[in-house]
Each structure stands twice: as C-alpha cells, then as structure tokens.
C-alpha cells in the first residue's frame, strides 16, 4: 500500500519560495502565471494495514512529524500499486 502526503503552507502564511518562483516565471515570459505556492509531497510505502487503520496512522504521522501544523496544512491519499 502507498500513500501520497501533501504538505502545503496555510493560507495567509508567506511563501517566499513561491513568490520568488512566480517572479522568475514572469521574467522568463510566462506572464499568464499569477500565483505559485510551493509545498512538499511525500510518497510513503507502508506494510499491509487495513485501510481504515492506515488512514488513522497516516493522520497521526502528519500531525506528529510530517507537517508543522502551526503553519502547514496536509492531506493524503492512499492507493494500492
């Protein structure tokens, strides 16, 4: 079983990277881009747990380690390969 975890900055939190990349895209001529926000995406491989339990475990991993909930939001999706 695999999971993809997405960790993104909360709305309203400054994203210096995104801002800078956006400006750079403009410079390169991609004027159609109006905003860029950069986050992390993690691909996690997990041993066989029932889906429900896996969901709970992932939630707690995110809260404890993978995301810093003071400034970041997270979401994840579970899938079978």
């Amino acid at each position: 079983m695999k999971a993809r975890v997405y960790v993104t900055l909360k709305r309203g939190v400054l994203d210096p990277q995104g801002k800078t990349v956006c400006a750079s895209l403009h410079q390169l001529g991609y004027r159609e881009v109006t905003d860029v926000r950069i986050g992390k995406c993690m691909e996690i491989t997990l041993g066989g747990l029932p889906r429900r339990e896996a969901e709970q475990r992932l939630k707690s991993m995110c809260e404890k380690l993978l995301a810093n909930t003071v400034i970041e939001d997270y979401r994840f999706e579970i899938y079978e390969e």
Partner: protein, 744 residues
C-alpha cells in the same frame, strides 16, 4: 467597508490593557478611541514595546563612555572604533515565537536584529546567539533545538552574515520557555549613521520591502507580554515566515540609498507592532507628526482592515523618510533591487499620527503620548523566602573524591560543557572572510578589512549563578564576558544585554530583575563597558513556572592590531603554564555539583571587580610584551576543566600538559570549584621572569602550575596523581558528545 467593532472597556481588557491604561488612553485622546486606535494603544503600551515594568530600572544602567556615540533609545547602539569607523550592535530576544515555531521563530529573530543594525546605516558583519533549552527528557526539547539552530542558520547563512559565536545551555527551568537571544554587529562610517527620526514636515514617508500580510498581528508584542498558557495555542496569531532573500535585497538597497548623504532623513525597521511602532516612534523622536494613507500600503492579502494593516508584523519591511528632492533616488534604488517602494504619506508638524483609509480617518493619535506617556510601573518587588534556602554551604554532606579523572570525563562530555561544534558548523561562521578566530575560543575575533583593527565578540551568562544570587550572578556574567575579551587580547568597547525573566507582576521576579540591573550596572562601570542598548523579555513563564533569571550579556572588544589576537589552546610543547588570579574556587553553584550531585545550591564565589580589572589589564599587557601564547578564562567546570579545554580545543588536535597544583582542602573543590578572576596562560619558558614580574607589579597572583606537551593531561596535587587522561580519545568524545545527546 466593514464596520469596526465599538470600542469598550471590555474590548480594551481583551487587548491586554488594564482599566487604568484604557482610561489613560481615553484621556490622551480626549475621546473614546476607534478600533484601530485601540489596537495602536494596546501594542504601543504592551510590555514588549513600552518597557513599562522595566524602564525605571533600566535608567540605572551606565550608558555613557568616551567612545559611546549612541546609547539606548535608537534601533541599536553605536561606539567609536577609530579612523571614523563605528561599531553598531544590539541583542534581542525572540523567545516566545521560537517556542511556538522554532525554525521560523529563530529565523525571524535573526531577521529582526539584522534590520536593527542596517537601519542605522551599518553593514552587519557578525552575529552571535545565546540559547537556553529545557532538559533532554522534556519531549519538546530536541525538536526545539533542531528547529532553532536550523532557523538561525537558515536565515543568517542565507543573508551572508557570519554567526561567529554564542552559547547553548540546557536546564529544566526552560522546559516551557526556551530563550533565543540574537545579537548582531555592523560597522559604518561615523558620519553615515542614520537614525529613526521623521524630520522635516512635508517630507515623503516611504514604505519599502515586503508586502503586508495578516501574519503576526499582535504577534511579538502580545505574545511576549503575557504568560504562556495552553490557551496561547488558540489565541496564537499566524506565525511569521522569514524570507532571508528579501531581507538581503532590503539590506543592500537600504545601504545603497544611505550611502549618499542627505537622501534619507530617517529610517526605521518595522519590527514588533509593525507600521504602528515605526510611524509613532519616528514622529515622536523628531517631535513631528505623520499622515499616512493605508490605501497605498502594498498588501499581500485582500480585504485587510486598517486595524490589521497597522498591527501586522510581516517581516522584511522598513519605513523611510526622504525629501521631495531625493524620493526619486530612493525609488530608483529599490527598483534596482526589485523591491516595493511606496510613498504612503508625509511628515507633518502636528505632533499626531493620522491614518486614513478609503478617504476616512481611522486613527488620529498624538505621537509623543504613545511613547513618552506610556504607563510606567514600579512593580512591587521582594526577595523570595526560598532564596536563603539555596545558600546552604555548598559541599555539605557530599563525599570528596580521591581521583578526578572520571568526573573530568563526565563533565567534558556533559550536555552543558561538551563541544558546541555540532551546532556551530551549521552556522556559516566564515562568510565575509573576516573571521580570524572562529567559534570555539573564549571570544570570536573578526578583522576589519582595510585597517589593522579587529573586534572580539562574546556572549555570556551563567543562569544558575543568577538563580542562586541574582546580583552576584549578573556581576559575574559581565565579568566573565570582559574576561573572555581580555583572553582574546581585546579591550571592551561596550555591552548589550538581553534580560530574560519570568512574570514581572510577581514580586520575586521583579526582585531578581532589580538585583540583576544593579549587578550589571556595577560591573559595567567598574570594567568600563557602557550599555549601548538591549532588550527585556518578561513573562518567560508557563503555567506559573518561571525560568532561571537569565540576563544575557554580549560584549564587544577592540584590538588595535589583529596580530594581537590570542586563542585559548596550548600551542607548543614545552611552554610553561601559569595560573593568573586566585587559585581557590568554590563548589557553590558549580557545574560539578549540578551535574554529578544534582544540586543547585551554594553561593557562587563573588567577584572583586577591581582585581578582575587588574587581571584583564595584565593579560593584555603581557600579550603586548609578547609573553603569552594562549590565555583561557577559567569558569564552568573549574580549573581542571579549563586545563582540559586548553589541551583539546585547538583546531590542530590535542596538546597535553603536566600540571602540579598546590592546595589544601577538598580535592573536588580544587579541581572543579569555580571562581571568577582566573586565567590560564601558556608562555615560552624564557618569559617566566618577566611575566611574574608584571603580575607582581599588577598585584595579580601568579603561579607556575606546569608545562605543556605530551599526549596526556596529568594533574598532581598533594603528592599524588589526581587526573590522568589520554587526550586523543578525550578530545574525540568531547567533540562528539553533543550530537550524541541530541540524537537521544
């Protein structure tokens, strides 16, 4: 436009004001404040911005000296170096934000102190930090250490200012309140110093730097002005994220625009309380007023209210006053660096800060009243009854030792005494290519390019001493900082402090604070090192538990010639080892007692400031005569640990020593007892007579205690060997210990 809440007394209380403070605000205005005005009063009169509990005591600090150009009151202090060059420095705390979000809290702390320096027209060239964390068995400690250190590194490295020194200690009193104190120093031409004044009615007021967002509304100011409790988690405003890249641009642009005289009339960073604090303070300092239009403030988010814009603590922003003739130049420079620069208003002669939004006046407050008429409290203070209980005669029932090797190894690999290399290698301590003595000696030394001058930097505080005896602890902290400079070969130029304490509404905390102020004042006077500025951080308490009083002292020293720099480690086989100062130390408040006997008790040995000063003069004098190869301050861990450090801290590897100590009494006290006014120096054998002669003239005790060389440190006392240690493995263990502790 969204209508703003009606201002009531209750709302004022919810803003952290007292009923009297609210009445005072109403009186200052002559009417009920608007919502935005209430926000302005509440932040300006918060503990963090107004120093209402500390101001009357800070006045006792010595803030004058022949080299002092700018004392407290500006964004940073200024002292003369020579040849028209000045040093600009300050220290600030960022304790609460760093506990909430260690990486960003520490990072934005560095960003803030750097802005304080370049606001003055100085280029920051070195930083220090002083960190306190809880014990390792507290579940959050490791996370906090990792985050804080990486945050300091992330910001400082990226902006290209070397972090050349600092200190880190662990103690359970910081479990719920870590301390992150950051110091930065810049240099400038004396005639290019800028100040935060809004002179010249009619002059344009220009906003430069990042856009304003909703981050940190009521952040630093409120967070740092009340105790921490579980509710702060929910009350907590959005944490600010630092953008060192934008700050680097801001730094370059500001320095460029300040290079030509007359372009900038006044400039101030937007730190705590953002636009509010910068407009009010700049106008108050100049005795002028200001009119600003919030519609012209560059915003990052839509729908921000005037209240939010005035109180936002978004990072990497500055407020600048130019003239009608120079405003174009300002805009050109900021455009060159791809930064926003927007004229948001004008200086007026009304003495008021008038804020409009969409054609409506949302705030109109007197500037001076907000600063000068801020409440000032002489809070009750009292020596706590438990204080006497701490002074129990130190060794008490503790059994003496017959051999010190094991204890020495334990100390050298302990969390508080082991090498800090694991941390400082994460800081770029070499960028700008000025670092002559890197972290790891008593003081860091940086050269000043284009001159022969150098500066030595150190930051010190033994909070256990301050807990056991706040007045003496503060004196000891100043003495130690000055001693570290002397051991580097430098004369103190000035001092900045960061006074970290618990809740000032508690009489015992206020007593600790007052005692510390008096201790610092006395020591700075005696050692000729005026206070050029500093910071007070109260409310370092969680659920009623306060930290050890921690008045951190950062001191800057001067070397006329960089060639006179001294380091602490033994250099050559065969050099003689001397102890300058009193041989006797005390176990009271020692690291030995705390680590090996879990006792924090006894009186730290006090400092005689006259003798301390004589010792410093002697070390520097001996250096000038070419008589010292190394000099090391002998502090935590006592004589034995200081000797071990002389052996193993050199970057090239260990140099051993054979030491013979005279001394009656307890062996643990002889080896590990602590005392100020002691320095270990090494010198070539032929220097002995002259060094002893100089010491006698200076009335400083001197004893030849051994000789450097060999692969071991061996100490004999009373005819027997009391320490015998092979240094190569001891050095490896000392270096690796911190990483090991932190890995857990």
């Amino acid at each position: 436009m969204t209508s703003e809440p009606q201002v009531t007394r209750e709302l004022a209380l919810a803003h952290g004001m007292t009923a009297e403070e609210y009445d005072r605000a109403v009186a200052a205005l002559g009417r009920t404040p608007s919502y935005t005005e209430l926000g302005i009063f509440s932040v300006m009169w918060s503990e963090h911005c107004s120093y209402k509990s500390s101001r009357i005591h800070l006045k006792r600090l010595p803030t004058e000296g022949p080299r002092l150009i700018q004392g407290p009151g500006e964004n940073a202090g200024v002292v003369e170096i020579g040849d028209g060059i000045v040093a600009v420095f300050k220290m600030e705390s960022h304790n609460h934000p760093s506990y909430v979000e260690p990486y960003q809290g520490a990072a934005t702390g560095v960003g803030g102190i750097l802005r304080d320096i370049f606001t003055m027209g100085a280029r920051p060239i070195a930083s220090l930090n002083s960190l306190r964390f809880g014990s390792l068995d507290h579940p959050r400690t490791r996370y906090l250490v990792g985050g804080v250190v990486s945050g300091i590194a992330g910001y400082g490295n990226s902006i290209g200012v070397p972090t050349v020194g600092g200190e880190i200690y662990f103690h359970p009193s910081y479990n719920g309140n870590i301390l992150v104190n950051v110091f930065s120093l810049g240099i400038a031409r004396r005639d290019k110093i800028h100040r935060g004044t809004a002179g010249g009615p009619g002059n344009p007021v220009i906003y430069v730097g990042s856009k304003t967002g909703r981050d940190g509304i009521h952040g630093a100011s409120l967070l740092a002005s009340s105790e921490f409790d579980a509710a702060s988690e929910t009350k907590r405003p959005t944490v600010q994220v630092g953008d060192p890249f934008t700050e680097k641009l801001l730094l370059e642009a500001c320095l460029e625009v300040m290079k030509s005289p007359g372009v900038v009339v006044g400039i101030q960073d937007m730190g705590a309380a953002g636009l509010t604090c910068s407009t009010v303070e700049m106008a108050a300092r100049a005795g002028t007023g200001m009119e600003i239009d919030l519609d012209r403030v560059p915003l990052r988010e839509e729908g921000m209210t005037p209240y939010e814009i005035m109180l936002s603590e978004s990072q990497e922003r500055m407020l600048l006053v130019a003239t009608p003739q120079t405003e174009r130049r300002v805009r050109e420079v900021f455009e060159k660096w791809d930064l926003d620069a927007s004229i948001i208003g004008r200086v007026t002669d009304t003495g008021r800060v008038r804020v409009t939004s969409r054609g409506q006046v949302v705030a109109d407050t007197p500037a001076r009243a907000l600063v000068d008429d801020a409440p000032r409290y002489k809070r009750p203070s009292a020596r706590p009854p438990w204080q006497d209980g701490l002074a129990e005669p130190a060794p008490g029932s503790i059994k003496d030792i017959s051999n010190g090797t094991k204890a020495l190894v334990a100390l050298s690999t302990s969390l508080n005494l082991c090498s800090r290399e694991e941390v400082y290698t994460e800081y770029d301590h070499m960028v700008r290519s000025n670092t002559v003595v890197r972290p790891g000696s008593d003081a860091a030394i940086i050269r000043l390019k284009g001159t022969r001058y150098a500066l030595a930097l150190t930051v010190d505080c033994n909070a256990r001493h301050c807990y056991l005896d706040p007045m003496e602890g503060a004196r000891l902290a100043v003495a130690e900082a000055a001693r570290n400079l002397a051991c580097a070969g430098a004369v103190p130029l000035g001092t900045t402090d960061c006074l970290n304490f618990g809740n000032p509404e508690k009489p015992e905390v206020m007593w600790q604070f007052e005692q510390s102020i008096d201790g610092i004042a006395a020591a700075c006077r005696a050692l000729d090192t005026p206070i050029v500025g500093g910071n007070v951080s109260f409310y370092n308490e969680t659920e009623g538990k306060g930290i050890h009083p921690t008045p951190t002292i950062a001191m800057v020293g001067f070397l006329v010639d960089v060639k006179g720099a001294i380091t602490q480690w033994f250099k050559r086989e065969g050099d003689l080892v001397f102890l300058l100062g009193d041989a006797h130390g005390s176990l009271g408040g020692s690291e030995y007692l705390a680590l090996l006997h879990q006792r924090e008790s006894g009186r730290p040995q006090g400092v005689d400031l006259e003798r301390e000063r004589a010792l410093h003069d002697l070390v520097r004098g001996a250096r000038d005569t070419g008589l010292v190869a190394s000099a090391h301050d002998c502090s935590e861990g006592g004589l034995a640990f200081a000797l071990l450090e002389c052996c193993i801290t050199g970057p090239q590897g260990a140099v051993g020593a054979e030491i013979k100590l005279e001394g009656k009494g307890r062996l643990d006290e002889l080896l590990f007892g602590e005392a100020p006014t002691r320095v270990i120096v090494s010198a070539p054998a032929e220097c002995r007579a002259r060094l002893e002669q100089m010491a006698h003239t200076a009335s400083v005790p001197v004893s030849l205690i051994g000789r450097a060389g060999g692969p071991r440190l061996s100490i004999t006392a009373g005819g027997g060997t009391v320490v015998d240690l092979e240094l190569a493995p001891a050095r490896t263990a000392w270096r690796a210990a911190l990483a090991g502790h932190l890995k857990g």
